[in-house]
Symmetry: D2
């Protein structure tokens, strides 16, 4: 890109909850980011946000914002159904794009968005922010180094009671805007991590229901998965149980690896716990770094270890990774294709509910009907 001063100028479209809690603070904290403009169809909110975060310009339509030549990149944080048009407008205006998850609400749109970005040679990163927790990154490294052997079991949950998150509107429970409730907002993060940490999913069987919350949408999601490597797993998420529960458990032939990301409780009380049967001399240094033995001279080995990495802001790390990819013209850590693949699993889960059984991936359908409850 032509920005020679090593800084990326951002426009943010959709200044609701996630922009306010994640993206705008990240731009504010990053030394490599500048907030050039914000855009929202709600003028009052757009103005207030621009003032609060010091945006140079305020827009009420995306068409106008993309004409601002100062803007290098756009963060798309609008309701899901608008991601498509926002991304296409941005791409055609040669803006790099960090698009919130889900990439789109159906596979056809997602493919088109990816294609338009390619044509315009702009970078497209999808907002799977949980990959940027230090816990996730350490887990990825440990698995790649074989510390727990081949991973044949994966259990992951993300529960967050419906009223907990401070959302400005409840569009998340309007399926025509969101394309899905609990599955597309919460479970989708765990689907991404399943692919990232274990590998591609080959088939799913889903049990998705509405059991309790005051919106007539999915609030209890259970997805049984078979992985390409021969392993199995279950991804679950709900909107009805109090507190946030978010454990991820990985079972391998030579060890276990458990991580907890954003919320803690006495049961899931450590960020990372590892057990490995590997020879200690072959283990990566990070295990020694966090091995607090009972006695100073005890050696690491065939014992549980907890790792408590610094709790660095995952949204800031996500933004900086995007900026680095923009500045260095490299592939982003989470690509449009990742966004598409994850969405395909969501759609396969929908189909599984509609047809009551296993659904193989890849899907042939580009559009799957959202189950109704």
């Amino acid at each position: 890109m032509e920005n020679t001063i090593g800084r990326v100028n951002f426009g943010v479209v959709g200044v609701g909850g996630i922009a306010e809690i994640a993206h705008l603070p990240a731009i504010h904290k990053s030394e490599k980011a500048q907030l050039t403009a914000v855009c929202d169809i709600d003028k009052k909110r757009a103005d207030a946000t621009a003032k609060k975060w010091g945006a140079q310009a305020t827009y009420y339509s995306m068409e106008e914002m993309v004409q601002n030549k100062e803007i290098d990149a756009i963060i798309v944080a609008t309701p899901n159904v608008y991601h498509k048009e926002n991304v296409i407008l941005a791409a055609n205006a040669k803006k790099n794009i960090l698009c919130e998850k889900p990439l789109a609400t159906n596979l056809k749109d997602a493919e088109e968005m990816i294609s338009v970005c390619k044509t315009n040679n702009v970078l497209l990163q999808v907002g799977f922010s949980e990959r940027f927790w230090n816990q996730t990154e350490i887990a990825k490294t440990l698995i790649e180094q074989g510390v727990i052997g081949e991973v044949y079991g994966f259990k992951a949950t993300l529960n967050e009671k419906w009223g907990l998150f401070p959302a400005a509107t409840d569009y998340r429970y309007d399926l025509s805007l969101s394309g899905g409730a609990c599955i597309i907002d919460l479970a989708i993060h765990r689907i991404d991590l399943a692919r990232y940490l274990v590998g591609e999913i080959e088939r799913v069987c889903a049990d998705i229901t509405h059991v309790s919350i005051p919106y007539n949408v999915d609030d209890n999601v259970w997805i049984l998965c078979s992985f390409r490597n021969g392993g199995s797993g279950c991804i679950s998420a709900n909107r009805f149980s109090p507190g946030v529960s978010n454990p991820i458990e990985m079972y391998g032939t030579e060890g276990n690896l458990f991580i907890n990301l954003e919320s803690f409780n006495p049961f899931h009380s450590v960020p990372i716990a590892i057990y490995t049967e590997k020879d200690p001399s072959l283990l990566p240094e990070i295990l020694n770094l966090y091995f607090y033995p009972q006695n100073y001279w005890d050696q690491l080995g065939k014992n549980w270890i907890s790792i408590v990495p610094p709790r660095e802001n995952n949204f800031l790390k996500q933004l900086n990774a995007f900026i680095d990819a923009v500045l260095e013209s490299t592939t982003p850590k989470v690509t449009g294709e990742d966004g598409l693949k994850v969405l395909e699993v969501v759609m396969a889960a929908y189909k599984s509910v509609n047809e009551k059984g296993w659904v193989n991936l890849p899907l042939r359908e580009k559009v799957v009907e959202i189950p109704r409850y």
Copy 2:
């Protein structure tokens, strides 16, 4: 029963691993139990066991042992496929029976065993020993008292690497003797707890495979369940990952309840953790008993609590519950029907694997083919 001294005389058939690790020590410790006889077709092992534990008589055939009139009750701890004939012999000899899990290897056998016990008016308890952990009992009470509201989510795992348990033989991996490997040995405990803690299972979809261990049997079990109350869950078990992992997580509309039963690690480090949104004044006293606040005067309420009950021997508690039921002629805590219902879920899981999809309960088939790997 006619035993007037308030003590039950036991015969134990099958003196392998579980008898040695669980039943014989329990009889030894219980003030209400006496070891009258042991029986095993392996004469050497029968003799050694009788000597070690002080049995008055030693038998090499069940037909002979059941003729011993001193014996009030028989513990059946033979390989699964022999449970049927052992139970029927015992019942016809008017002995009360504590039969190890699984009750049988198919539903037809299980029904016949229950019927013969009824006809002979003898008590039949199935060895779901995990119900007798204090953690399980406390969880049951808390759920019944509504502390976490309606339970719509259930996750339970029991992993134990194949070589960990000190078994005398490897019959557990001979499907013709065991009727199933990981599912019928480990997952079955979690199926029982699912029914006990949440309620009846209405349908299952199972992913059961062999991925790693040196026996050509199921070593990776994942069962997606829908419950009659509208909730969902996933039960998993494996024989390939090191260490024992055994967390159980329950998600309700007004709280969360997590228990860990027999093994601990830094991630699953407490026996019970509870979060409830209920008004503190309505909560059961046990929560106050184990609420160690940061400051003396802090009040319980909308906060996580850990409970660390005494780790009483669950096998001793199981035996004493059986003895009490025998002495007081009451229904045992785990009935033959419980054993049958749990076995039905196992068979439904087999059918789900064979037919690749959801299977509704109750099953029509009495015999389901064991999947081969």
Copy 3:
């Protein structure tokens, strides 16, 4: 005593903070206690308290209350300097007495109080409520059974920032009423536990200062102790640091025993932790009861164990122990002599500050000047 219905009728004199937080709730909860009367010179408070807790009678003078023949026992919870006259009035009226700590503000008074109680043949218990925590009782048992060998090291702290406790008045910081601030209110509990758990103290050297709080009294207490058994220790307490810190550490020749009583934090996070080098087969059953091993079959031995006993109300246990001693005419768990001995250590600490050095016990002086800051 003549009360034949197995219940003790109480009068409570001094209805300030500790009566309200500890004694009145304990009487309310105990099945063996009845609140007959309350007494306070503050009429408004006396009336309000009587109404709140359902006392049958209200008095504004102790002389009147002791004439009530229904009253079997009196709890003395007035400012320290009044303990003497309250106890003597009660004893002469043949009432049994549970007197808050400190027993008195000088040794002469304490001796006289004990003597009058003896003459009148009434029972005198001093309110060292911390002996009644389950943690303390378990520690006492473990030490008596030799689990940690001979205890030669004792470290104990009780810090509670001056504004934390919800006191109705600040008499605790008026030395003419209290006879001492931090030392006589907080450190005194630890002196009692030192004697209870390790044995008699033979000499002390104290460093007691005022460093920070807005009352010109001792707020930083450090007492170095030599014990009769040859061991050493340090008791400390302060009124300036935030939160409550209350760890007690005992170091023995064959083990370590750490307890935390009323407040918890991530550093002092468990109620009891024990390490012992004893042969596991010789250890008391309670260690096995709370041994949650990594794997089910792991054996106890030369390993740390945490014990989390039920957090039963120590004030209720204190009251019930007093009632049992009254009803069964036995020696109370904490005698007047205990109160005297602990007070003697406080006075020795004062003398140590005044004279800048070690002070041997027993003291010859009956009255020691309170150091001023």
Copy 4:
């Protein structure tokens, strides 16, 4: 110094336990260190050590080693009584010196050693390795930034049972070689940290005894301290209790700060725990970095925080700090004066035992008699 390649060539004198466990591995790991020579009067041990760690030269006398011109710096790890002559020989040969603690066995020697180093313009660092734990460094920073206000309470312990450490000889229990047992080996570390973290000690009263171990030396050390800032504290150490216990507790007017350095147990289970009453916006970033809240959006503030820094090798960090000071000609982190001041506290403690009372600092005596037991 003239070494232009940014690397320091080391000679190590005294290749016993601490050289083997600490210094030689540190030299091996450091990219800025090279092992040029080892020296020990025990020829066999010198040869074996040189071979094991790859020393270029082996010496049996210090006089010879100091003539090796390749050597830039010497680590003195001989029995304490020889530190003086080793340091003086090294200094006169213009070698920089990292001398194990204690610097010397009396103050006169220590002053002479410091003086000779100054005269020769060589750097002298004393081996107080516990300052180099990350926990200590973080604590230092937090205190300097006022996170816990003024520190008026300091409790520190270092217990290590006499047989635990793998020493080649038992010179540590020969007072003529060591100048003190438990106090000069263990407590001395805590005296250094007291000075480092709280400030200068103004007076001490010590209770030092022999209670249990099979050497007739001090095995139970308790030192009451008054600090120059008006605070108080107690430093203790013993050689009789099993396991290693090493908690350090600091109580300030606005917070508490607890650290545990080299060994862990369920009671002292975290490396650092902090409580502060400061306004969260004024707190250093490290607290936010390690604040794992119950819910993602919870804010830091008036709550306990645990910090689990990487457990980096404190001896390697000590060596690298020494190397940096050498290469950059800066003052080392632990100076000869620090070694002298700490030794003065040890001598004051001896005097306190000998004279049974408080001893003020600075001491007038340069030599104090070691108490005998």
